[in-house]
Amino acid sequence: MIAIRFHGRGGQGAKTASRILGTAAFLEGFVAQDSPIYGAERRGAPVAAFTRIDKKPIRERGLVARPHLVMIGDASLVQDPAARVLDGIDERTVVFVNSPLTAEQFQAQTSLPGRVTTLDLTETALQQFGKRSAISALLGAVAGRLVGLQEESIREAIARELADLGLAVSAIARNQAVGVACYAAVPMVSVTAGPPQPFPPAALQVPTYESPTRGTARISAAGNSMLRETGGWRTFRPVLVPDKCNGCWLCFAYCPDGVISMTKEDRPVIDYAHCKGCQICVHECPTEALVAEREKEGGVAWKAK
């Protein structure tokens, strides 16, 4: 069996990527299982999805604790302990990272235990689609290549899964083309199948009764959500070009999270620790004084229409 775990940020397409991989394996006659982990996940928040592929029926269920392949859709997740990207990785695990760095550079930076391979999917999507968009097809195609599936079945799986999501026909065709290009481009590290490694059975704890004053979750602080930083959700950051700003307040008025404040001189100040990168301010700025910059070293990558 091969167990694959996808990590991404909500909206990036980790769940769909796992479905594409599962469907492609199914089309080739394998038994496949795929499931995302659901909770209070939101656009930009860390999410995970799991695929299992085998020749015989799969009895294992639930989370993939010891993956053979880990697909990381956003390199910043490696630094986020809450995302638990590195759980259960050993030296045989293949780790794919969506990153502009090479595998050696990435491993030098992070000293991951697994065998690393990288490809810059975000940049590819940006160039090919001309705007930021989900990278599910790309991620799914790369995973298909790493586990040894055929290009044809990946192409068909992308079409089926994206059609399910209601994507436009033209968008599906583009995703297929770019997915196949990534399929060919990813530096190959082959994944070795292993025996199923089920979770140890969970011990069920009998809840004890507490009176509501003790048993109900209570928050006694005021406004402490500031302690939780959501800046890591971004793939693009809004950046101010001060010369162009006319001080109109629109970015401040429309920011849903209230992370933009105005100085006395009517210039916006962005709280990057909490900005989720929705780009509303970039879209709304009448003088193009706010531009979106990809979250990495380098120039401005994307501009709203």
Binding site: A40, A168, S225, A253, D257, G258, C278
Partner: protein, 309 residues
Amino acid sequence: MTWQRETFKKIKQIPREEHVLPGTALCAGCGGLEALRLAAKVLGDDVIYVNAAGCFTMLAAYPFTPFKGSWLYTTMGSAPAGAQGVRDALDVLIAKGRLPERENLKVVVLGGDGSTYDMALSSTSGAITRNLDFYYFCYDNEAYGNTGAQLSSATPYGARTTTSPCSLQHPSGTMQEKKDIFEIWRAHKPPYIATVAPRYPLDLEEKFSRAAQFTGPKLFLALAACPTGWLYDPGETPEVAKLAVETGLWPLKEAVNGAVTHTYIPRRRPVEEYLKLQGRFRHLFEPTRQDEVIRHIQARVDSYWQGIS
């Protein structure tokens, strides 16, 4: 006579202070949060929010809260009942002198459209009938968004949700018409009802500040453009919210003691412009264009605006 804003005339009159702090786990680009943040600028910090289960559950996800005031969590169907309890407790404590008058709080219900249009309809009706002094803030994203966009009775005809997909039998996706909750509320004759859209911040701020003069139920229906459920890029939230109003699909209006005034008369761009922006309506254009459905939506809007100016 055209409706005039009295307090909020310029965008720079929007208060600088934030009352819904950052760090919530709501989606990037959430239209509901955009509206709540603006509303809270008028409501202030002396507020107790009574939150029905829904997307806004993520506002004060344990152990963090974005509010300086209080927040209480209820089931989807019982937020107005919870508000009644809180209001009564405050009134009793103040009457008995156990709580000083200056510590009085505004009671604000937060509910999504699933709660407002479906599950909490009876408890809202009860609260309005009892003339409960509270605010009701409905963030309407036209589906059960927190669980991945299932059909609610706020979902408009022609939209696709996970439980009303476009299929051979039902090519339009959703077949029902959006429930007119504004009129259901209005039938109860509360002192103040208004619809708002965050893309019109001054209109929104004005309505919240105007509502403060009324004792009794003050109900707000806020358009919550939803990038996750409506399938568009989060950066386009204000654009979608703007077109919802400009096409006439989301009328901005208020009802003071039952008398309706439209606070903004749109030029009524074709609904197609609004529909085209969103993935949930894509099946109306691809692979084959469903002119019949688009015409139907346009006709509904046209008939709504007949005679309104």
